[in-house]
Structures are given as structure tokens and as C-alpha cells.
Amino acid sequence: MKNIVELFLGILTAMGGFVEVGELVFSVDAGAKFGFRLLWVVALGTLGITVFCEMAGRVAAVKGQPVFNLIRERAGLNAGLVTLVAANLVNLLTCTAEIGGIALVWQLLSGWPYRWLALGALGFLLLVVWVLSFQWIERVFGLLGLLMCTYLAAAYYLRPNWGEVAAGFVPGVPHLESSSEYLLFAYFAVAILSSVMLPYETYFYASGAMEDGWNPGDVNLNRVIAIVGSVLGSVLAVALVVCGAQVFRPHQIEPQLPGEAALAASLTLGRWGLLAAVGGMFFAFAGAAIETSLSGAYNLAQFLGWPWGKYRPARTAARFSLTWIITFVLAALIIMTGVDPVSVVEYSIVFSVVILPFTYFPVLVIAGDRRVMGEEHANGWFANAVGWFYLGIVTLAALLAVPLLIVTRGGKG
């Protein structure tokens, strides 16, 4: 039973990474623009995030050290501080976008003014994180986020050509008409890779493992949870790409709002499908908002050596608690200025790829260090080989991300 409950850490981590508002819009948009041709990037990213979450979880279970503790220790103060600032900027921007996403979902249901709904979302999130324990947060938002599986059913009933879907998993670049379209394809490939391998997933996952009190005996459990969570998240991302390709591509519509993704569910599953999809989006966005605000607090506390954790009473981890509260408040204030949440998250996704090498390098080095991890728990040759391969890929993506963002004008082509 304990193992089933622990699964929700993996599910919540993956939900907050794979189906938050930015990825939702990005995936549906990628399907609308390129059909199934980007599915191999989702698969590539999924293996990468599984490998690094597993390593970060293993280090947390064996050594009791979360990710930012390792970054400070192995990357040093200066490189570590750059990573901290960038990571927490990404956390803040993503949290901002999620609060905007929740307000958009509520607006879809109620028609009330957007800014007031954003304020309501802030109140809801503050109350939930203050009152609920980490374990209940995992269960509630992990379980109810599973309503997103509605999109799986929707993708199935949209009757895609399964042969073409399967062909999309073969790495390759389609024949496009102009060089600007190739650049756009490259931009989407980098952005999807980044949105699948979002750095805060590893921060949150490793810290969550420590919140749940994992020890070296949980190493196998960690492996299962990292795999199940990432695979579930990526299947949902694939379903969103399929929905985009089937619903919007034939009409050459470029969806830019989360509500448009819900359209795919309502077309095939009717009123109840729409309600389940909207409910799933609400819990997925709220889960991602909580994941990013807590990640911000975890990172800062672990970098500076503050007591941290939801398992401690707020009074005894006071700076940690104030940090997540301030993150929520700042995020809500930004959204209330009227910025478009989807463009906020698109920028944050592209910038987050830039910090991926700084995040993954220390994790890879520690997880592979036999003196630190011991013979039994250090990376084997497979994990090391895959880890270094992905470090190469994310470094390449990090170098390409900002130039591609500029030349494609943020994916507008």
C-alpha cells in the first residue's frame, strides 16, 4: 500500500511537468503545425527525464542530498548561483503562467472577470499548501490530475491514422517548403524537449523523495516511480499532440489557449468529456503551480542551508515557508498586470533549457561517483552512458534555444 501511495509523487511530478499550461498549448500547437512529426522528440525527452529523475531520486534516497545541495557542492558557488537565479526565475514564470491558466479555466466555467479569478486562484493555492501536508498534496493533485486522461480517450476517438502516429516516433525531419519552416520545426523540437525535461521536475522529485522520508531501501521503488510517472506524462503529451493534429491541423488553426485543447475533448466525448477535461486541466495547472512554487523554496533553502520541507511545521522552516508564499503572491501580481500566461510560459520553457546542463551535470557526477554513492548504488555503465548522451543533447539544445527563439519570433514563424 505504501508503494501505491508513493506513486503519487511520480505522478504529481510528471503532471506538473508534462501537462502544465505551457506544454498543453505547445503540444496541441505542435500537432496543429506539424502533425505527428514531433512525437519522437517527446519520446526522446521522456527517456531523458526518466533517467535524470531516477538519478536525482536515488541520490536523495541514498545520501539524503537534494539537487541544489549537490549543485552548490559540485558546481561551486558562482556557477551554482547562476543556476539558482535562472531556475527560480523559471519557477516564478511557470507558476505565473499556471495561475493564469487556472483563471482561464475558471473563466471558461463561470464567465467572471479574469483578474478576480486570478486573485481567487492565489487564495486557493495559499490555503491548500498551508493546510495540506505534502502527502495529501501529492494524493489530491496527483489523483485528480489523472482526469487529464480524458485526452487519451479523446485522442482515441478522433481516429488518427495509427500508422502515421507510429511513424512520428521515428526520429527525422519532414520535408518542408522553406528554410524558415525548418527553423520553426527546430524551434518546436527544442521547446518540446525542454518542456518534457523541465528542470524543476528533478528539483521537486528529489525534494519530494526526502519529504516522504525515502532511504536506501527505496532505490528500486524510486526506479519504478520515475518510470511510471514519466511514461504517464509522456502518453498524455502524445495524446495532446494527436488532438492538435486531428482537430486543428485540417483547419489550419493555431490554438493558443488552454480552452481550445478542451474543445478536442468536447467534440468526441460531449458535455461530460468537456467537464472532465476542464477539471483535469484545473488540477494539472494547480499541481504545476504548487510544484513550481515549492521548487523555488526548496532550491533557495538547499542552496543556502536553511531548514526546509513541508514535513516541518511552518514555524520551524520559516524562511522556506515565506519563500513559497512570496512566490505565489509575486506570480499572481504578475498575472494581474494582464500579461498573456501562455507567452510567459513559452519564454520560460525556452530559457529553462539553458539551465538544464547546469542542473544535470552535478546530478550525473554524484550519481556516478562510487566513493560517494558506494558500489551498490552508483550509476552502472548504462545509466552513465545514457546520462552523458543526454547531457550532450541538452547542451546542444541550450546553445540553440535562444537563437531559435529570436529567429522564429517565439514560434510565430
Binding site: L77, V131, P307, R312, A314, T316, L322, V372
Partner: protein, 117 residues
């Protein structure tokens, strides 16, 4: 400590400091050494707090970081160090060494909210 010597930069600097109750109470932000060329060089204290780490940043960033995080620092004598593993464990409690003061101040704000523990 099993090893014959301690690599101060890799095994001590930038590692987490915990007190005798295993409560995190900062990082080893800098080290104080005494002695000089020709004589014996000894580590005399750990320096913990923003005042210690902001000084290690490239010039230009130091002032900005100090503006945000302050310049407070606490000196913990090396004799207070009990063990050095992934964490540097101290022999006394955080309050006794003057560590964790900022957290206790922040706790005063949160204490007023119901459910703060």
C-alpha cells in the same frame, strides 16, 4: 574521518552545516585560516552567512548580492566541528553558536498565522 587528509575545497567548502540536532543551519560559506608562508597553515573557523559567500562572488555582483541577502556572517570555531561527511556536523545547537537567527525572526511573522505549527 576515515581519510588521512581532508580536501577543504571539495569536502568542506560549500557543504551544508547541521547542528547537534541535525537541523540545517547554513552552508560552509568560507573558511578562516591562520598562519602564513613558511609556517603552519591551520583552519581556525567556518564562516557561515551571506557576508561570507557574497565576498567570493566576482566583483560587481558582490554589492548586488549583499544588497539582497545582507552582510551578516557567523564565525564557528573549527573545534565545534564534530564530523565531516556530506554534511559538516557541529557539536552544539544552532542557537548556542548564533546560527539560524534569521529563521527565528521569520518565524515570528508566521507564528501569528493559525496552523503554523
Amino acid at each position: 574521518m576515515k581519510d588521512e587528509f581532508l580536501d577543504l575545497v571539495r569536502q568542506v567548502l560549500d557543504h551544508e552545516v547541521v547542528d547537534s540536532n541535525n537541523l540545517p543551519c547554513g552552508m560552509v560559506d568560507d573558511l578562516e585560516v591562520s598562519g602564513g608562508p613558511g609556517g603552519e597553515l591551520r583552519v581556525t573557523a567556518l564562516l557561515v552567512g551571506a557576508g561570507a559567500w557574497t565576498r567570493r562572488l566576482p566583483s560587481g555582483f558582490e554589492g548586488l548580492a549583499a544588497f539582497i541577502f545582507g552582510r551578516q556572517q557567523t564565525r564557528v570555531p573549527w573545534s565545534e566541528v564534530e564530523t565531516v561527511t556530506e554534511r559538516v556536523k557541529l557539536r552544539s545547537r544552532a542557537e548556542e553558536l548564533g546560527l539560524g537567527g534569521a529563521d527565528r525572526k521569520a518565524a515570528k511573522i508566521l507564528e501569528k498565522v493559525p496552523g503554523s505549527g
